[in-house]
Each structure stands twice: as structure tokens, then as C-alpha cells.
Symmetry: C2
Subunit: 175 residues, 2 copies
């Protein structure tokens, strides 16, 4: 679990999951990692719910409608409150995104798999709100991301990234 090894090996897993459960200890480490991320003006707008209850997982999976993600035995739901940081400025998207990235690294470091599932749950059909209602999340707090957590049951297929030289330079743009 060396930092740079984990950062470089992390990838989004979109395959099916084994039914092997995820330990409470691992789920707690993932949640602690998420909450260790910084937040704009330290407003701590992000909170998390780990789900490992089989009945709740089934209901959330049915709402999600994605058999691959729904096959995971556990999930970490990312919650966000749209607090003002200062003047009229908010940083809640930045806050929860940093928290999610920490959680994803923790998941990878523990030998587990996940995928940042945000678009599906915050689209016009409001799946995130239905999930939030099931989990008792109050109306002023949004469920913005669903992280399935579990062990891979198959080989995943992974995206490619552009080469370093196309996205990073020293002392000037495209230098």
C-alpha cells in the first residue's frame, strides 16, 4: 500500500463483484480516508454512509438499475451539503470530489474495487434522492455519488489516458 503504487494502479472497475463481504474494518478505513480530505474554508460539507446490510443493498441496487454496480456486497454513499464557504462562494463539489478520491485510493489500497458513480445518481431521474430517502438523509443534504465496494469477480476493461506530455509542462503551457 505504497502511496504512489496505489495512485498509479487505481482504476474504475465496471465488472461484476464477488459476493465475498467487505469487512467493517475496511469500510471504516475507507470512510476515514474520505473524511480526511480538505474542504473549502474547512466547512466539512461532505459526510458518508457505508452500506453493508443485504436488504438495503438490494433496494439500492434496484434503484441504480446497473447489474454490475448493484452486484457489490457493500457501498459507500457520499453525501454533500451546499454550504456557503464565504461571500457567495461554495466549494461543496470540490469538497466531495477530494473525499471521493481519497476513498477510491483507500479502496484500491485495500485490494478492493470501485467506480465513481455520480452521473447516474444525479441525473434528471433523481436516483440519488430516492437512495437518500431510503437511508433517511434529510432534504437539505444530497446523495451525490455511489461507490460500490467489493472484490472483482472478473477482468475489468479500463480506459486509456493521454500521454503525460499532452497534459503536463514546466514553466508554461505546452512548454
Amino acid at each position: 500500500m505504497e502511496l504512489f503504487d496505489v495512485i498509479k494502479s487505481r482504476r474504475s472497475y465496471r465488472g461484476m463483484y464477488q459476493q465475498k463481504p467487505v469487512s467493517r474494518e475496511d469500510l471504516r478505513l475507507i470512510m476515514e480516508a474520505a473524511l480526511a480530505a480538505p474542504s473549502g474554508c474547512n466547512k466539512q460539507t461532505t459526510s458518508v454512509i457505508a452500506v453493508d446490510d443485504p436488504e438495503l443493498m438490494k433496494q439500492l441496487g434496484d434503484m441504480l438499475g446497473k447489474p454490475n454496480f448493484a452486484s457489490a456486497p457493500a457501498a459507500v454513499c457520499i453525501l454533500s451539503e451546499k454550504k456557503i464557504a464565504y461571500k457567495n462562494r461554495t466549494f461543496f463539489v470540490q469538497d466531495y470530489s477530494a473525499a471521493i478520491q481519497n476513498a477510491l485510493l483507500a479502496i484500491q489500497g485495500l485490494g478492493l474495487e470501485s467506480c465513481w458513480v455520480e452521473g447516474y445518481v444525479t441525473d434528471t431521474d433523481c436516483i440519488g434522492r430516492k437512495m437518500a430517502d431510503l437511508l433517511g438523509v434529510p432534504e437539505n443534504i444530497d446523495l451525490v455519488c455511489y461507490l460500490p465496494v467489493g472484490y472483482a469477480a472478473e477482468e475489468g476493461s479500463y480506459v486509456q489516458k493521454m500521454p503525460f506530455e499532452e497534459r503536463a509542462w514546466f514553466n508554461g503551457y505546452r512548454k
Copy 2:
């Protein structure tokens, strides 16, 4: 540089920096970490410029107007392009925030210090645009965050976070 040690020890440093330079090798590792973050629909909306040229650092520091951050011998500037991911949806804020979090962990893991400086550079006085112009960044790409990078010259003062139990639960909100 064990993953969880770095995640838990990372903090925002707001003190003055030593003049000791940051190696190109370290700056490259920080940039690679940033670019290893996921992006919505793999649009790779984030790019980075590391600055270690003393004259450029002086000009960027003058623009920033914050003596503590300006004292760093190097910086990583985070660039973002507002690309559509699908339909009318964008995830560029999520993308660059995940990249910044990876960069901050890399910085911490290398024994360096930094702070997520976003509000100052994206406020109504458009410091980020001035910095972008100096670095030759085209108009369609924004400089959204300035990460000073260097070695601490003094003890920092750090914020406190709420306890775990106030922000994380199993199988339901505040359960």
C-alpha cells in the same frame, strides 16, 4: 509513504517556505499523481503546469499577493477545460478536484508542503486568468488552483475536523 499514513497526515500548510528548491523529479511525480485521477467519461479535462523558474515564481507570487504562499520556490498550477461529458453535463470541477487531491497526497508523501489555493485565484479579481496569461494558457482553459510546493520554514497552524461519528454512519443517516 504508506497510503493511509499519508492520507491521515496531509494538511494545508499556510506558513512561510524555505528557499530550498524542489527537484524536477519530485515535481514530475506530483504532476503524474494529479493526472492519474479519474475524470467523468474519461474526458481528461485537467492539465498541469509546474513552475520552478525563479522569475516566473516572483511574478506569480506578486499576482497572488499572499507572502506565505508566494514564498514557495515552486508551484503546480491546475488547469481545467469546461468540456461537456454527456448531454448537458459537465464534471470538470470533480475532475480537477480529484487531481488536486492526488497532487496534495503526493506532495505530503514526498515530505513537501502545500495548500489548495482556489478561492483567491478564481475570485472576481481574476488572479487565475492573469496567471494563465503569463503562462501562455489559452482563453478556453482556466487556471483554477495554485498549489505552492516547498519545504516548511516554520510550524504551521492547522484546522480541526469534526469527529468521525458526526460525519460517518453505517446503513442509514446518523445511525
